[in-house]
Amino acid sequence: MTAESGNSARIDGQAAALPEAMGRAAELLASSRQPLVTGLSTDVAGARAALALAAVTGSVIDHAGGEATMCLARPLQDGGGFVVTPGEMRARADSVLVIGPSALHLMPGMAEALAAAPPLALVAGPRRVLQINAGAGPLAGAELAEFPGLSPLALVSLMGARARGHHVNVAATTLTETDRVVAWLAAAHYGVIIFNPLELGAPGVEALFRLATQLNRATRFSTLPLVLSASAETFKTVCLWTTGFPGRVNFATGAPAYDPELFDPKRMVASGEADLVLGIDSFGEGLGVPDHTMAQILLAPSLSGAAKPPDVFIPIGEPGRDHAGVMFDPAIGTLRAMPALAPSPRPSAAAMLETLRALALRKGGAPC
């Protein structure tokens, strides 16, 4: 396949004019009993347009990285929690606990930032950094603590229990090491715990927020969850103001309905409850669903990398390169505007999704 043909619209693998491909996609949407809109590796405009399309087609919608979003959202929904922006962590945190090997490697510039002293700390001096279960990813200059054989959930729960002064029944070496970490935490003036929500899982994150609650009784603590996908955080943000929910929404009954288990894209595909996948993948993050034989519409910059050729392929540009856009920026902890670095005529995901929505409305594609 030449680069050129990889960039043209396709129907059943054959190059097609864009209007025909859009028409075919609209037909597939109209004939689907339960469309699923996923991938959603796109910008704010793409997420808005995808939600609007999902609303008129009665689709289930969630980001391919929705699992990490839910690992953080569900503990917050169950018990609340503490979070801080990266910028304020850099400025104030005199003590930073890093859980697991991945966090710092996945957060650009964070290792360097932690090595610097916090300029606004109550007591001037270097920042203390402690890393637990660093595995293959120890941070230069950090103190280390290892808890072999303990799951992240068990480890965080153990720390919480000891912070609350509870008796626990564990090996003496584990107890000693736990108490050392808890004492280290208690000595913080403003402490931050950096973690990967997927590594901890929702129960582990909930235990972590309980630990932060306990630590805040005597000193100050917050947490900084690692953002695994900027587009996932972008989608969550837009989905919250559009529907009131962070993702995993179904529009089949008209009003958006939220169910973090039922509307998991992986489950919708594996169980065959969806019969059409509409995927948006501007940044090559994948669609996050298992292999399937159902109909598929793909919006992406190129076809290469798609496991199964989609029934319809619509080429789109990349936000921040081909066209301007707005994305969540993990470095600042909020949305950031991005001008087009290499403007091109490639259409945005938003423009294509808006056209599909107009076609769906014309076909009377509203949910029954």
């Binding site: 100050r220 929910f245 505007a337």
Partner: protein
């Protein structure tokens, strides 16, 4: 198309009008009686005609509001198999529903009052998705390292005015709010309480010093709206002293005090908690340069969304359901704590009564603004009921009959017989808020005003009347008919055309890089980022 609204009772306090008459508009503007025949005449006899209403303080957008949505999925109607009506379900709690519900009550302009400059882009994108109404926002300063550092270093009046100007410009804000000045910073140094003369550790700057510096800086930067102040000690017994001290700290210059109901408490009674609203109302009457909004409590579950992070942290124990999110950031951050205001709860009944005492005790309706501090005291959808309560002493008596006598005994409400007239309500929700934000073409129906008009069917049930406007015109377009939005219309976001001093922008950038490791150009709100080509409307500074 020249349109005539014919035969209604036109209430327009700006022109001292209350009587039968016609209103003409064409091309989005109100006209004086024209010389030619109208193209369209709409019969509004039996109706009350006012300018579109303005809400100066309602938390409708931004990161903290989204955090509240995230926290409370169970309160939405559509969550799993919940009942048909839930408390968040009734207000929708999405951008689209916010605009629809405000418009249907006849509101055409709403100010989101608490946006961190760092999160302005998020807030503006959300505001842009709120249909029908025009919007604006206040940017929050006074707990950020840069501002506190300037005050500590005695940088002077001009430097502070430049920070305010740069913040207004970068955030595309209409004004500046300070929230428990210094307390969010102090909380990061583990202080758990903070009063007007307490000092922020590390900076050695008092809350009063922050307040005074920002009050002057907002005037110097040319904002129409004076510094919008969320004072210290919100919700605490005896905090009327804080409110009085804060009013005195205004030193005769303009200042707006937000949701003062939450500061109208004394220490009398067996529980050491009483209403000091009458006393506070007298102080406000004696200080005409100060304006206030009430933050009325109504009885129902709600969620508090506040950048007073110290207060929100201290309030976690009262959360119902038992959960809350404390989100810290470069300045204030935000805390989200759900609450239930219950009719049979002594404290809640007293708060409800204190709010009404303030409305009824403050003589000048142009000095007190109509808010529930949505959603902190109650969702904005309770406004029509609140309007009815202000207009009827009998209705208040009915409500009081169902409240704990112990609470009412610690207020003056039962003896207050004042009833608001429609004209006074129009002052409070139309002409006065327009003046407070320096908007000459809103809040009235005189020639040249924007054609934002609300028409209500005159009926004895004032709550029903204000809940569903018969007709709402926005910029000359009919957007609501018979209480339902009928047009796919988007208003704009008003932003002060403030001056951003280039040297100050460079200092802010250097500070952001050094202290937070962040390129602060990332906080810009460029026009290309907005979903509509004309998302913003510039407002000229005060000359």
């Amino acid at each position: 198309m020249l349109t005539r609204l014919q035969g209604g009772r036109v209430i327009d306090p700006t022109r001292g009008l209350d009587g039968r008459g016609d209103v003409y508009f064409d091309d989005g503007r109100i006209l004086a009686t024209p010389s030619r025949a109208p193209d369209v005449t709409i019969d509004v006899s039996g109706c009350i005609v006012m300018a579109g209403a303005l809400d100066i303080h309602s938390h409708i957008a931004g990161a903290n509001v989204s955090t509240a949505r995230l926290l409370l999925p169970e309160a939405h109607r559509a969550h799993m198999t919940r009942p048909e009506t839930t408390w968040l379900g009734e207000i929708g709690f999405s951008a689209a529903e916010t605009g629809r519900l405000y418009a249907e009550m006849g509101f055409t302009f709403v100010v989101e009052p608490a946006i961190s400059p760092q999160q302005a882009l998020h807030a503006h994108l959300e505001l842009a998705d709120i249909p029908v109404i025009d919007k604006g926002l206040l940017a929050v300063l006074g707990n950020d390292d840069f501002t506190l550092g300037l005050i500590r270093d005695g940088a002077g009046r001009a430097a502070l005015a430049d920070v305010v100007g740069a913040t207004l410009a970068q955030s595309r804000a209409l004004g500046i709010k300070v929230i428990n000045a210094g307390a969010a910073a102090a909380f990061k140094y583990n202080l758990r309480g903070f009063s007007l003369d307490d000092v922020v550790p590390h900076y050695g700057v008092s809350s009063r010093a922050i307040l005074e510096a920002l009050q002057q800086a907002v005037l110097d930067a040319g904002a129409h709206h004076p510094l919008h102040v969320h004072a210290n000690n919100l919700g605490l017994a005896g905090n009327v002293e804080t409110a009085k001290a804060t009013i005195a700290a205004a030193r005769g210059m303009p200042m707006h005090l937000a949701h003062i109901q939450f500061y109208a408490y004394g220490r009398e009674g067996a529980r050491g908690f009483s209403s000091a609203a009458a006393e506070l109302a007298e102080v406000i009457n004696a200080h005409p340069h100060v304006s206030v909004d009430v933050g009325q409590v109504m009885f129902q579950p709600t969620v508090t969304i506040s950048s007073d992070i110290m207060r929100q942290f201290n309030g976690l124990g009262e959360a119902r359901p038992r959960k809350g999110i404390i989100q810290e950031g470069e300045g204030n951050g935000g805390g989200v704590v759900p609450l239930v205001y219950a009719r049979d709860n002594f404290f809640n009944a007293l708060q409800w009564a204190a709010g009404l005492e303030l409305f009824l005790g403050i003589s000048n309706p142009a000095q007190v603004f109509f808010t529930t501090d949505h959603p902190n005291g109650a969702p904005f959808t309770t406004y029509p009921t609140l309007m009815a309560l202000l207009m009827s002493a009998d209705l208040r008596d009915e409500w009081c009959a169902g409240l704990p006598a112990e609470a009412l005994a610690l207020t003056h409400l039962p003896s207050m017989r004042r009833e608001y007239s429609l004209n006074e309500l129009a002052i409070m929700t139309r002409s006065a808020p327009a003046t407070l934000f320096g908007m000459r073409d809103r809040g009235h129906l005189g020639a040249g005003a924007r054609a934002d008009v609300a028409v209500y069917a005159d009926q004895n049930d004032r709550a029903a009347m204000f809940a569903k406007a018969r007709l709402v015109i926005k910029n000359g377009v009919t957007v609501v008919r018979d209480g339902k939005v009928c047009a796919d219309y988007f208003g704009r976001t008003l932003a002060l055309a403030a001056r951003a001093d280039a040297a100050m922008l460079r200092r802010l950038e250097a500070h952001s890089q050094t202290v937070h490791g962040i390129n602060c150009a990332g906080f810009d709100v460029p026009t290309f980022a907005m979903p509509q080509a004309h998302a913003f409307e510039d407002v000229a500074c005060r000359s």
